[in-house]
């Protein structure tokens, strides 16, 4: 299994950051890499098991399923069902933790997946830097670092 871990500090209280990211269907509104998104079957976007179907700005189509969502722990876990990246058994968690000293937010995004051995470094780079850090950079721009 490959593990990717990216973390950052966002200059706003965790409940405010959580409001922006908790909607499983709302990636296009805050993540610069995502073009569009819809929830399949008209389910509510916080229904466990719902599937988001979205396109990245470079045209890739991805389907991801919501596995858990906790407003108490500010945590969301999801799995990739379909993607052009060539990953298997991909499960990711996005988690916020309050920084009580200064009322900021510690944000962590982790993923575990399997892939062909020769693609490990490229995929870890794409996911850790492109997807996760790209999202954090957008949040820091929005709320301050």
């Amino acid at each position: 299994m490959v593990k990717v871990y990216t973390s950052s500090v966002v200059g706003a209280p965790a409940d405010q950051v959580w409001k922006v990211i908790r909607d499983f269907n709302d990636l296009p509104s805050w993540h610069p890499g995502i073009a569009d998104s819809k929830i399949e079957g008209g389910l509510p976007s916080d229904k466990i098991g719902c599937v988001r179907s979205f396109h990245t700005k470079d045209g890739g189509h991805i389907r991801e399923q919501l596995l858990s969502l906790s407003d108490f722990d500010y945590t969301c876990t999801y799995a990739i069902l379909e993607s052009p990246m060539g990953v298997r058994d991909y499960v990711a968690t996005l988690k916020l933790t309050p920084v009580t000293d200064g009322n900021r937010t510690f944000a962590e995004w982790t993923a575990e997946f399997a892939c062909d051995a020769e693609r490990t470094a490229d995929l870890a780079q794409l996911i850790g830097t492109g997807v996760f850090q790209g999202g954090f950079d957008a949040l820091k721009q929005r709320f301050g670092g």
Partner: protein, 484 residues
Amino acid sequence: MVRVFKSTIVDAPVDAVWSLIRDFNSHIHWHPAIAESVIEGGRSGDEVGCVRAFKLVDGAALREQLLAFSEPERSFTYCILDSPIPLLGYVAQVKLSPVTDGRRTFWQWSSSFETPPGREQELFAIVAEGVYQAGFDAVQAHFGGRKVTAPRTGTAGPLAGKAVVQDRHGGPEVLSWRDVEAPAPGPGEVRLRQTAIGVNYIDVYVRTGLYPMLKPPGTIGMEAAGVVEAVGADVVGLSPGDRVAYACPPVGAYATVRTMAAGQLVLLPDEIDDRTAAAIMLKGMTAEYLLHRTHAVKAGDVVLVHAAAGGVGLMLCQWARHIGATVIGTVGSEAKAKLARDHGCDYPIVTPRGGGFAERVKGLTGGRGADVVYDGIGRDSFEDSLEALALCGHLVSYGQASGPVPPVEPARLSGKSLTLSRPVLFHYTADRRDLTAIATRLFDVVRRGVVKVEIGQTFPLAEAAEAHRALEGRRTTGSTVLTA
């Protein structure tokens, strides 16, 4: 169950922070509250089950046991085995995480515990601020973080400054503005650059010699805020650059620089500015212990506050009202009645000569009387205060502005099973843990706006005599602050 969660970002890579704090005995090196510590039985400080026996700087002895330790997670869990502080079933976890986009460290410190009934808030504050936040601040400082704002200066020589000095007891005219030197701090001492000094009526009594607390030549004043400039040997928990405040004897606060014992200094939160601190330390800590310690006021109590528009009175009214008490106050004029009402006094009673209010209190309470009377007037109000109390009521006589109270026969209290207290702030703050708890609760209510501070006037420190003339001429409102 009380739960504490504190977290911070340290400006250092996670491996550097982890190597500083990972050993269970390392707190002696980085936590300012720890005076000495040893791992029992010579075991290793990362061996699960090991016990650290340590003493706090205030002398309290504790034992804690390591329950879990994870090198890859950079976390450990521990519990308290023995402690003089009643943190029951205390289990805490420390965990570090890397901030991957900046070589910084996220540090979370959390715990859960039970407390004796009614002490939840106080013990929460001790753990959250006195232990966890104090540890964060010290480690921030260790890595050159924000807390040390002034360069560490040489402590060898004296520091030049100005002070209000008097050569004899007397009127405001004896106060003169002179060059002074604050000596290098000795063991247990710090040297401060003071920025704001609180003016209290006790300063007048000391200036005139009524209270024998100053032998001229000398400097009056018991309350100030400022910045630590230098730290003597054996001082733990204070560094140059720390913002601090105090309200305590000995006198000597009317100065721009001062060398004094470190034990009664409290660290100021960022939200409390220096002038506010100088205005609230004495009066606010007095209100805290009167309402929570001398008598624990609870929702539904009837509280009678004398001089309700005075400095302590306004704080008592606001705070007692916030607790949920019904607040009756005595004041000297209609204007002061309005001021008291604006600060949470439900029923201000105008009594120009200090007494004659007992019937009004009875009337307002359906004949029952007050559960507790806070009386800083003394002689003129004493008899009426006893009269105004309900059965099993409590007269708290904390001052004597109108003169001393004549002797009282204990048997007099048996008429209504009354309690009589004559408390003094400095006994409640003598133990450093109590001082920290009192100040923490005060800063909290000021920060949240529950207790609003009225600084009615400020004077330059050099014009302290003018401030005293205004105070003695009853031309001041709210608190008076001198600025250095």
